[in-house]
């Protein structure tokens, strides 16, 4: 085989020609940032180009093979891995036709393919566990097979790349997976604490036990499927969100499901199984009406104990899971989102502090749940900001834990200091900026850019002063990565996309200066550098 390959290669080269795909246009997908690399996926040549920075303004390019017919590429939540899902050749007509594939690429110390999983069916959905332990491959609507099992999934144990994927069919009466949530480790009445995978279908939630203590066959057969209840209008409910909390000494561990177009939330306590059962828990569902359609739900620790908070209009409904009693707390503003910031603020109390925000009103609230049920203000402090908020971003790293980035619906963004109760606006003159951080937060900088323009900004989170920067070419994307080879420096890689190529302008991420850059071109072809 090897000889034939070389022979073919020699024939091609000898004829003075080149493979046709070298003439194909360069049509990469959006680049993906890792902790110490940037990945540009080139589906035309079935390769991932990983850019690393070995030193100040230095750039290395690594070409790694990926599967044919790229579907998606995602970075692991910790930025250490790149997961590339490809469809392969479909339908396969020859034994040599490539199967669907998940390629795992690790970037440290140098980029390499750590594992390739092959499977039979071209699954096109990929969900990654926030705790980097599992991945789920599933069927999406883009799957064009004549006959497919929409409930087919593959569970990949990311903690042990040597293990084979676990194939299973999601237990469902009439639905197919629409959303996946991983719980943290939850105590159960009968067995060791374990994580659960909650799979939302159109009208059900199915739980898959992720415990190491059960075999894969048992994992597949012991799914728990909870049909959604009917709402007051008699329509079968659809799950919209899953929340969970661990047992707290008084309450069992519990999941809660927010339902679409329903004023009820479904509580799913992990109760003790019937006597004699070897099951780890038994689901005893209960519905609770929270007085309106909630925009989101979250379990919190309040001065009255663990409660499920449901944001409903200008109220927060605090649901006691033990009794289903609901305490309505008036919040004065219609908050639509909640983010727990207890640990960010270094609170050592047993109660939570939550950041409330809204996509309909320019106000955020800091909610001390330790006073939620006992004081006139319910522990809520509000702060006017300049816009309604679309998204709240954490600042990575340990230095600015009390800072949150508020992305406004208008394109502006705000740096909120939770400790000082202060919001600093970053006006964008109507442009919609994309924001990015160093995954490890070590550069202590926030990068803001608008694709297609030459200007971007670096905001030092210590003083919140924006540093305007420019490149000579339109920006494709910006990344702040650690230098490889153990260097302590950091490099900002600004990518530029051309018609058939891409390039990069490199900055010192710790001291970005337009006067101190290095430009690299021809990266689709191996690269040329220009000081």
């Amino acid at each position: 085989m090897m000889k034939k390959h070389w022979l073919c290669a020699c024939l091609v080269l000898g004829c003075g020609g080149r493979a046709s795909h070298w003439d194909a246009p360069f049509t990469p997908t959006d680049p993906v940032g890792l902790d110490n690399a940037v990945a540009v996926l080139d589906p035309t040549l079935d390769r991932a180009l990983l850019l690393t920075s070995p030193g100040p303004l230095g750039l290395e390019e690594h070409s790694l093979p990926i599967g044919q017919n790229l579907v998606s590429a995602s970075a692991s939540p910790d930025g250490k891995r790149l997961y590339v899902l490809s469809r392969g050749i479909s339908p396969r007509r020859n034994p040599s036709d490539e199967r669907p594939r998940l390629t795992v690429i690790e970037s440290d110390p140098t980029p390499r393919v750590a594992r390739t999983y092959e499977f039979n069916d071209p699954l096109s959905g990929l969900v990654l566990d926030p705790e980097n332990e599992w991945a789920v491959l599933y069927v999406t609507s883009s799957d064009s097979r004549p006959v497919s099992n929409p409930n087919e999934i593959l569970l990949v144990n990311l903690a042990d790349l040597e293990r084979d994927p676990i194939a299973m069919t999601v237990q469902s009466i009439s639905g197919s997976p629409q959303n996946f949530s991983f719980t943290s480790k939850l105590s159960v009445p009968n067995g060791d604490p374990r994580r659960l995978l909650a799979i939302e279908t159109q009208n059900e939630v199915t739980l898959v036990d992720l415990s190491d203590s059960i075999g894969d066959e048992e994992r597949a057969t012991r799914q728990v499927t909870i049909p959604m209840p009917e709402n007051q209008q008699g329509a079968t409910g659809a799950p919209a969100e899953v929340a969970f909390h661990d047992a707290d000494g008084t309450l069992d561990s519990e999941l809660a499901v927010r339902l679409d177009n329903d004023t009820n939330v479904l509580l799913l306590p992990l109760a003790a199984p019937p006597a004699g059962s070897d099951r780890p828990f038994y689901i005893e569902p209960n519905l609770v009406d929270v007085g309106g359609e909630p925009s989101t739900i979250h379990f919190v620790n309040t001065d009255a104990g663990t409660r499920l908070v449901a944001l409903v209009g200008t109220n927060a409904a605090l649901v006691d899971p033990a009794t289903s009693n609901v305490l309505n707390v008036a919040l004065s503003k219609p908050f639509t989102g909640i983010t727990l910031v207890t640990s960010d603020l270094g609170s050592d109390t047993s109660t939570d502090i939550a950041l409330l925000w809204s996509n309909t009103t320019p106000t955020v609230g800091l909610w001390d749940l330790g006073a939620a049920t006992t004081t006139a203000t319910h522990g809520l402090d509000t702060l006017a900001v300049g816009a309604s908020i679309r998204q709240v971003l954490d600042v990575p790293g340990d230095t600015f834990t009390t800072s949150k980035i508020l992305q406004g619906v208008s394109g502006d963004f705000y740096v909120l200091d939770l400790a000082a109760r202060r919001s600093s606006p970053m006006l964008t003159n109507g442009h919609t900026f994309q924001l990015t951080f160093a995954p490890d937060g070590r550069s202590q900088r926030l990068w803001a850019f608008t694709p297609g323009t030459e200007a971007f900004a670096s905001i030092d989170l210590a003083d919140l002063n924006p540093n305007e920067l420019n490149t000579e070419r339109p920006i494709w994307s910006v990344f702040d990565i650690a230098q490889s080879n153990g260097g302590v420096g950091r490099t900002a890689i600004v990518l530029h996309q051309g018609d058939s190529d891409f390039g990069a302008t490199l900055f010192d991420a710790l001291a970005p200066d337009t006067a101190n850059t290095r430009f690299y071109s021809g990266l689709a072809y191996g690269g040329l550098n220009h000081d």
């Binding site: 237990q171 799914q223 728990v224 499927t225 909870i226 049909p227 209840p229 009917e230 709402n231 007051q232 008699g234 004023t263 009820n264 479904l266 099951r279 038994y282 689901i283 005893e284 569902p285 209960n286 519905l287 609770v288 009406d289 007085g291 033990a322 009794t323 289903s324 009693n325 609901v326």
Partner: protein, 529 residues
């Protein structure tokens, strides 16, 4: 069934405490009659208007017909039983740990009745879709045993004898849509189930046209069906059979709609009141002999003592105690009691007849007569209290120490309804509570210490329940998220069943008012686990 704007009118009792899905007195009031009242004493009756030459006064306007029962859950010692017609299941909800068990019934189970008298929780369920019934018994081992019983077609009511030996399954015209009933729909089939038999045996019998009520005698040897033309007596015996039909009035054809019939517990007599008449009829059910007592004014309400020895008639705004049978007694010697300031048309008695609550709902009347007596009522104490809002119904606690009234909004009130807590203790003021929705159902704890009241306004989506501490006249409001259907007591909890597609019930502790709401009785059964 929508009863959001209607106050209760008829009483239902569950296994532990009293529950009222509407109840109350119906009938006609009489014109205002003075009559002496106040504390103590016996008052001889004299015909009103004596010596006058004018036309006799017309009968008073009718008291309001108030709503009767819903398809509601019932409670046994430890469990609330509620049927789901859609799934064919009956949920048993434990008041010990709020766990839910499910039992299979037949097609479209609706009406549930508790079966007393056994060392187990048991109930009988009518299956509207399959013309049968299911007897469910929860054994000490936790196993639910069921037996299907064939019934006649169209059954919608079940009454169980006090010991639990018999169940009579019948078809109540009042629970049917009158506009859909053909005149030939006599609803005359009844099914008698002998629950002592193992397996339970049933007998289908025929009674008079359109039965409206059923009762048993103390020995449970007979069942008495009040029917349109009169009464059908069923001999239960070893082989239940119709024993005889008895006429209750001289004119059974024209008197049907206006009759109010009570049967004494020993089954010896039926006491009959007719709207717009001043007479009480006493029918010897053994011989069919009818006797009549004429009272001085229109008889607007009638109740019997628990032992059936006394009939309490409301006439001329006062309470008159008539012995049963009256024999040759002179009506002028009957004990009479009234309260200055209240012209009662209806009466509610405590089980021991020591407390009588006199009121009228035919016209807006915000006064309540509270009368305490007992025995022959030769002496009594009375007072009328101003409850500020018109009284719709009154309920006496099982211990006779307190009462509760349901009221409509007072003129100028911003409230949608009201209820009041009254004490039999004459020197205690009533507690009046305005409500954001009309009160709809009530249940007393068996010892009369607490009560649970529901309020419901479907139009404004205001639903709630009150836990009432009768001793202190204090109340705790609990907001509900679904329309309450009924209230009851089980164990140490009050409960309120609510309208919800998946079934919803809220329990409230009678001791500390803590609550627990369960929704989706069958959700756990649908979980694949």
């Amino acid at each position: 069934m929508d009863g959001s704007s209607e106050a209760p009118t008829s009483g239902l009792t569950d296994g532990s405490g009293g529950s009222f899905q509407g109840s109350g007195a119906t009938g006609n009031g009489s014109p205002a009659a003075g009559g002496s009242s106040g504390s103590g004493g016996t008052t001889n009756l004299s015909p009103s208007g004596s010596g006058g030459t004018s036309e006799p006064p017309p009968p008073p306007p009718p008291e309001k017909e108030l709503e009767t029962a819903y398809e509601t859950p019932v409670a046994t010692d430890r469990y609330v039983w509620t049927a789901n017609p859609t799934t064919g299941k009956v949920a048993l909800i434990s008041a010990d740990d709020f766990s839910v068990r499910l039992a299979e019934a037949g097609n479209a189970p609706t009406t549930v009745a508790a079966l007393p008298g056994h060392d187990e929780d048991a109930a009988i369920v009518l299956n509207a879709g399959s013309d049968d019934a299911t007897v469910l018994r929860l054994g000490a081992d936790g196993v639910i045993k069921s037996q299907m019983l064939q019934t006649h077609a169209g059954a919608n009511a079940v009454d169980v004898s006090p010991s639990g030996k018999w169940a009579v399954i019948w078809s109540n015209a009042d629970l049917e849509d009158a506009s859909k009933l053909d005149p030939t729909d006599g609803l005359q089939d009844v099914t008698v189930a002998k629950l002592d038999d193992d397996p339970v045996t049933t007998t289908i019998l025929t009674v008079g046209y359109r039965p409206s009520a059923v009762s048993f005698d103390d020995q449970e040897a007979h069942a008495f069906f009040v029917t349109a033309p009169g009464m059908t007596v069923i001999d239960l015996g070893d082989a239940p059979h119709p024993d005889r039909d008895v006429l209750l009035t001289d004119d059974p054809v024209s008197d049907q709609a206006a009759r109010d019939v009570s049967v004494t517990p020993d089954g010896a007599y039926a006491v009959v009141r007719l709207d717009g008449q001043k007479t009480l009829g006493f029918v010897d059910l053994g011989t069919g002999t009818r006797d009549t007592v004429t009272l001085p004014d229109y008889v607007t309400d009638l109740d019997l003592s628990a032992d059936g020895k006394q009939a309490f008639a409301v006439t001329g705004g006062a309470l008159v105690v008539v012995p049963v049978p009256p024999g040759d007694a002179d009506p002028s010697t009957f004990a009479r009691a009234s309260a200055d300031g209240e012209v009662g048309r209806s009466v509610t008695l405590s089980p021991d007849t020591s407390l009588a609550l006199l009121y009228s709902n035919a016209t807006a009347d915000q006064y309540l007569g509270i009368l305490t007596g007992g025995g022959a009522w030769s002496t009594y104490e009375a007072r009328a209290v101003d409850l500020k809002a018109p009284v719709q119904a009154a309920f006496a606690a099982p211990d006779g120490r307190h009462g509760i009234t349901f009221q409509t909004p007072a003129t100028g009130s911003t409230k949608e309804g009201a209820f009041s807590i009254v004490s039999a203790q004459l020197d205690r003021a009533p507690k009046i509570i305005g409500t954001d929705a009309p009160p709809t159902a009530l249940a007393f704890a068996s010892d009369g210490a607490q009560a649970v009241i529901t309020t419901r306004d479907l139009g404004k989506a205001r639903y709630g329940m009150y836990l009432v501490e009768l001793g202190s006249l204090e109340q705790t409001f609990i907001q509900l998220s679904s329309p309450p259907l009924s209230a009851g007591i089980v164990g140490n909890y009050g409960f309120v069943a609510q309208a919800h597609p998946e079934g919803r019930i809220t329990f409230v502790s009678l001791t500390d008012a803590s609550q627990r709401t369960l929704t989706g009785f069958e959700l756990a059964a649908k979980v694949t686990q």
